[in-house]
């Protein structure tokens, strides 16, 4: 069990309104990711769910029960922190056993739980070491181990991978996804990295300045972002935005094309520009193209793209891949676009 419902939840620090009223239904067993630029209130909301911060107004229900004022220990949730937050004075074994001891579980049972957690997370060899003797990745595993032995109704992760180096991050990402499949428990995962969000999530909630802009599956957010912020935040490299002149009867103030949808063409195309910096990644190539009157556009091409710095190119994009936004940033229904 692990369904969590946020109803009109807000948070203010002093007079700063950090979380505007938020409604969100988190389903039992789902992997939901809170993503957004840093400082937008993701951690604050997660900590409110955990019970580490008071809720200024609104309600948080856990499994149908109002838990708004329940202390953290009684909510049945487990949290994995960015800094791991292991107890440095205890061995790995005791770190993992700590929550079980607090719950007064019999020692034999604790041993069994530690053994099974150690097996799942490959910690067998390290059980008697102190956290200080472990690498970052191992520490993160211990933190996860400490969380899973309690069999919480939901896991809360606050940027658990941001202290790891890039290659380890990719591995741990897979391990956490794997863990979710094995345990089938609700996981709420906070990150500012949209790649993590896209690769791990069942559903993503995109945050911006204390509000949730959109909630949906990764593909929904990618294909049908409801506004310019979500469109720009989801997808890498970022979507190109091109301001357009106002035309009577057409509310479009800006169109967006993702780099992967922008194409070089021999025909006249929609825009013409000069090739700037070229980034070869091997499997693909990013071209930064300077378009007069529009600014730089990013284009994603094949790995063996023959263009060179300074080449003149014509660019186009399929009509159904061009998104239209109004002056407030809201996505508009697609209309034919014929260049500015």
């Amino acid at each position: 069990m692990g369904s969590i419902t946020l109803k009109q939840v807000t948070k203010t620090f002093g007079d700063v309104n950090v979380i505007k009223p938020i409604d969100l239904q988190i389903h039992d067993g789902e992997f939901i990711v809170f993503v957004g630029p840093s400082g937008c209130g993701k951690s604050t909301l997660l900590r409110m769910i955990a019970g580490l911060e008071d809720t200024t107004s609104g309600n948080i229900d856990i499994d149908g029960q109002d838990a708004t004022n329940t202390p953290p220990a009684k909510r049945g949730l487990a949290m994995v922190f960015q800094s791991y937050a292991l107890y440095p004075h205890m061995s790995v074994r005791n770190n993992i056993a700590f929550p079980l001891k607090r719950a007064k579980m019999p020692p034999a049972e604790i041993e069994a739980k530690i053994a099974s957690a150690a097996k799942i997370l490959n910690l067998g060899d390290y059980l008697d070491r102190k956290p200080g003797q472990l690498s970052g990745g191992q520490r993160q595993r211990v933190a996860i181990g400490r969380a899973i032995v309690r069999q919480p109704s939901a896991f809360l992760f606050d940027e658990p991978l941001s202290n790891l180096d890039a290659s380890l991050r990719v591995n741990m990402r897979l391990e956490i996804s794997e863990l979710h499949k094995t345990l089938d428990t609700t996981m709420i995962y906070v990150t500012h990295d949209q790649v993590e969000a896209m690769t791990m999530a069942d559903r993503i909630a995109v945050f911006n300045a204390g509000v949730i802009e959109q909630v949906g599956t990764p593909l929904e957010l990618y294909q049908t972002p409801i506004n310019r912020f979500v469109a720009g935040f989801i997808g890498s490299p970022k979507m190109n935005f091109i301001e357009v002149e106002a035309v009577d009867g057409d509310p479009t103030s800006c169109v967006g094309v993702r780099p992967e949808h922008l194409k070089v063409t021999q025909d006249k195309g929609l825009w013409t520009g000069k090739v700037g910096v070229i980034e070869h990644l091997g499997s693909e190539t990013f071209l930064h193209i300077h378009v007069d009157g529009v600014g730089p556009l990013t284009l994603k091409a094949d790995g063996d793209c023959p263009l060179k710095y300074g080449d003149d190119v014509n660019l186009t994009a399929p009509q159904n891949k061009i998104m239209h936004f109004d002056a407030a940033g809201k996505t508009l229904p697609a209309t034919p676009f014929s260049g500015n």
Binding site: L52, E53, N69, P71
Partner: protein, 290 residues
């Protein structure tokens, strides 16, 4: 990490400290203030009566007050000057590559741990005594008249003793601060062609300013109420030559049993300390902000 629950608990856990310190500070202070308006002598109990500001008038017009006020300033100022200048010098010296630095450190630090009565007695008798003291022996050996320290220069003698006690503290704090100086800054200054003097003025001193502030603050707290060193060496004399405010008030209240006069003196001392404190808190508040 602030929930209602933890905030309430925090308030409860702060309560004992705050209440105790309030009781320790405010209640007796109010009593002192009250006594200071009474004609109150312990030798004639029961005859207390309200006499307004008379005690203050007596205290503030007493030549002893001026003498001890200036002695207090000289004592604090003199010791601060000696310990900070000496401390900076020692700190720079101990920061150099030298053999046996740990032993040197231990020796320099030792006087700080000597209790004030012991250091005062050792200096008074074994070093500064005009007949049997080591300094007197030395003076005779090189053929000059021995100085009778506590008769001729009583306040200076006390300044010397107290400086000896506090020099280690200043040196240690400043040394710790110097050691935390970013070596790359000095190397960059070397590359820019700075000499040792300009490195000291433009890099070392600004870096030390925070530590110097701390030294001034802490030493002043303790130096304003120097007592034991005076009690066991000169008892404030000759005359009032080495009496500071603390000692003056002590003699008035507990030797002459003049509670009213002593209390007025106490309030004056508090006001003076407050003036110093406000000044210091400004300084340290600025310097301690991270």
């Amino acid at each position: 990490m602030a929930t209602m629950q933890s905030r309430n608990l925090a308030r409860m856990m702060l309560f004992p400290s705050v209440v105790l310190l309030l009781a320790w500070m405010i209640v007796p202070l109010c009593m002192t203030l009250y006594f200071s308006f009474l004609d109150y002598n312990l030798l004639t109990p029961g005859s207390e009566e309200f006499i307004g500001f008379l005690n203050y008038e007596f205290f503030l017009t007493d030549p002893a007050f001026f003498a001890s006020f200036f002695n207090t300033l000289l004592l604090v100022g003199g010791v601060l000057l000696i310990t900070i200048c000496g401390g900076i010098g020692l700190a720079i010296l101990l920061d150099q590559a030298i053999w046996g630095r740990n032993y040197v450190r231990i020796m320099v630090l030792a006087p700080f741990f000597v209790m004030p009565t012991v250091s005062a007695l050792v200096w008074k008798n074994m070093l500064m005594n005009p007949v049997n003291g080591l300094f007197a022996h030395f003076a005779i050996w090189i053929g000059v008249e021995p100085v009778d320290f506590f008769a001729q220069v009583p306040l200076l003698s006390i300044i010397i003793i107290v400086s000896w006690q506090w020099l280690p503290f200043a040196a240690l704090i400043l040394l710790t601060s110097i050691q935390s100086l970013d070596r790359e800054q000095l190397e960059a200054a070397d590359l820019d062609g700075a000499g040792p003097f300009s490195k000291f003025i433009y890099i070392v001193m600004p870096h030390l300013s925070r530590a110097i502030t701390a030294v001034i603050l802490i030493e002043t707290i303790f130096l304003l109420s120097i007592f034991a060193e005076i009690l066991v060496t000169t008892s404030g004399g000759p005359g009032y030559a080495s009496t500071n405010l603390t000692y003056l008030i002590y003699t008035q209240s507990l030797l002459q049993f003049d509670v009213g006069g002593g209390s007025a003196g106490g309030i004056v001392a508090v006001i003076i300390a407050n003036i110093v404190a406000i000044f210091l808190m400004r300084l340290i508040g600025k310097n301690l902000e991270d």
